[in-house]
Amino acid sequence: MKIIVAIKQVPERDAPIAIASDGKWIDEDDLSFTINEPDAYALEEALQLKEKNGGEVVVLCLGPERVTSTLREALAKGADRAIHVELDELAGLDTLAVAKMLAEAIRPESPDLILTGLQSDDLGAGQTGVVLAELLGIPHATIIMQVEKTATGLRVKRELEDGWFQHVEMPLPALLTMQSGGNKLRYATLMGIKKAKSKETATVSPGEPAAAAIELARVYLPEKQKKTEMLKGSATEVANQIVEKLKFEVRAL
């Protein structure tokens, strides 16, 4: 089974966020970047499927030069090769424009399965996978916890709301968006890191991006929904203040 894993590089979770001077995105200059967490689960699932069923795992990422570090890490974890769709300027691109570029890079590969995370930690639109499936004309399922290869295709476990699940059967080729938590993520081994150096990363240039269907006009700090009273002091002082609130306001003590 040939599997393509579409991954995104996003700012580290703890990264301090500053709004860019044009007010339309964040200042990326001093940020450190990492693999989008749900995409890490998609990669893990792909590697496990390959271990069980054989085949090839190809990682795909769109972005500037910096994303090659995330691709190298995926290769070190066990992906066989990488495709870097090199594009310096991501601002102004919407999901459809990004998905079209990814689709162009995927088509010549004719994969059996495409995996990606259910959403990104930065934009969080949660749509790239579904749009990609629609553009490629293949079936999809979202928020997937487990994937099983069957004689005719796939049987997947889909997460629903409030602790419910559902199995869905589908033919291949197909696209799945992966939820976190279905597997335990592996670390790259020293041997893996060594091997990654000899693995191939193909760099491709995307065509002109499609005109945006939606526009991100402005980003800003959210207004507070409640007036939060901040409790200050040493740990003991703060603890005593909380106890006061628990006694007299929450009436929990």
Partner: protein, 327 residues
């Protein structure tokens, strides 16, 4: 092309109650734009539901019915709703932001060359649609660019709890049946029965006091200090998703969109940044106290009391102070 169309959600004849929040959003957007609001119901055997919607202030209620829509499939819904939206001529199409909508609406928007503006938390004049970025650290205003095709609708999904279901206005609406072209070979996936992993042994929804732990706890063995705090307080221990993903606490203790929704008297959040998927599960708590090292953590936007500090110092101190107060 004009008007707002709200696509509601039902399963086996029972509403997803977020449908009415989306209807409220649709009516308010329509009023803002000075146009009419309509609704669509999709599935099979829908007449009680369409009759119910016909008593709301809507121009039309589109009945999108077919035997092949009895069970949800993305292929069936996309094919059917594409036809319903074309028939409605709507300029804005609104959805509740449910797991099901997340599964099909992006593909539906793609059919129209459009992009869904997902998980919207407010609608302002313009119209401008507000959604969150970076796990809630920033808000962003989205709109349809002026150069965009006026012939294609704008697709928007509305976050749970953003609009009030009770504010849906009553009225009278005409029911319109949508003639569908839909064949079984267009539906490529086969859904199975819905199931739960195991009987839930913890009912967090019934707990008056909840102490909840998140990523800030760093290591599995550190969970113990939060457990001690919960025990001292007589509270249930809960967690955000990453803690349960790591297997540090069972999934049934997870609060958030994929776990339980709670509204306790007290929700004490320890090391939880407050990603939107978590907030939707707990923002109904009467009093929220948050302890987090990052003063910009979105949890502080919903907290009544906040402590910016090291949880490894504050939590044991708080446990001791509670035990002292109780003795």
């Amino acid at each position: 092309m004009s008007g707002v169309l709200v696509v509601t959600e039902q399963r086996e004849g029972a509403w997803n109650k977020m449908s009415f929040e989306a209807l409220a959003a649709g009516q308010q957007l329509a009023a803002m734009l000075g146009v009419s609001c309509s609704a669509a119901v999709i599935g099979a055997g829908l007449s009680p539901l369409t009759t119910e919607l016909a008593t709301r202030k809507l121009a039309q209620v589109f009945s999108v019915q077919h035997d092949l829509l009895a069970e949800y499939t993305a292929d069936g819904y996309v094919t059917a709703l594409e036809q319903a939206i074309q028939q409605s001529g709507a300029e804005y199409v609104l959805f509740p932001h449910t797991y099901q909508v997340r599964d099909f609406a992006p593909a539906l928007a793609t059919r129209f060359g459009q992009v869904l503006i997902s998980d919207v938390i407010a609608i302002h004049d313009g119209p401008v649609f507000v959604r969150q970025l970076l796990q809630g650290k920033l808000n962003a205003d989205y709109r349809k660019p002026s150069a965009a095709s006026p012939q294609a609708p704008c697709f928007v999904s509305v976050q749970a709890g953003t609009f009030r279901a009770e504010s849906v206005e009553s009225g009278e609406a005409a029911i319109v049946a949508v003639e569908l072209t839909l064949a079984s070979n267009q539906i490529r996936s086969k859904p199975g029965e819905r199931f739960r992993e195991s009987a839930q042994t913890v009912d967090l929804a019934a707990a008056p006091l909840i102490v909840s732990v998140g990523r800030g706890i760093k290591e599995e063995e550190n969970i113990a200090i939060v457990q001690e705090l919960a025990d001292a307080l007589g509270a249930e221990l809960a967690a955000s998703r990453p803690i349960c993903d790591n297997g540090w606490l069972p999934m049934e203790r997870q609060v958030g969109s994929s776990g339980q929704t709670v509204a306790p008297k007290l929700y004490l959040a320890v090391g939880i940044s407050g990603a939107i998927q978590h907030l939707v599960g707990m923002k109904g708590a009467k009093t929220i106290i948050a302890i987090n090292k990052d003063e910009n953590a979105p949890i502080f936007e919903v907290a009544d009391y906040g402590v910016v500090g090291d949880l490894f110092e504050v939590v044991p101190a708080l446990t001791n102070a509670i035990l002292a107060a109780k003795s």
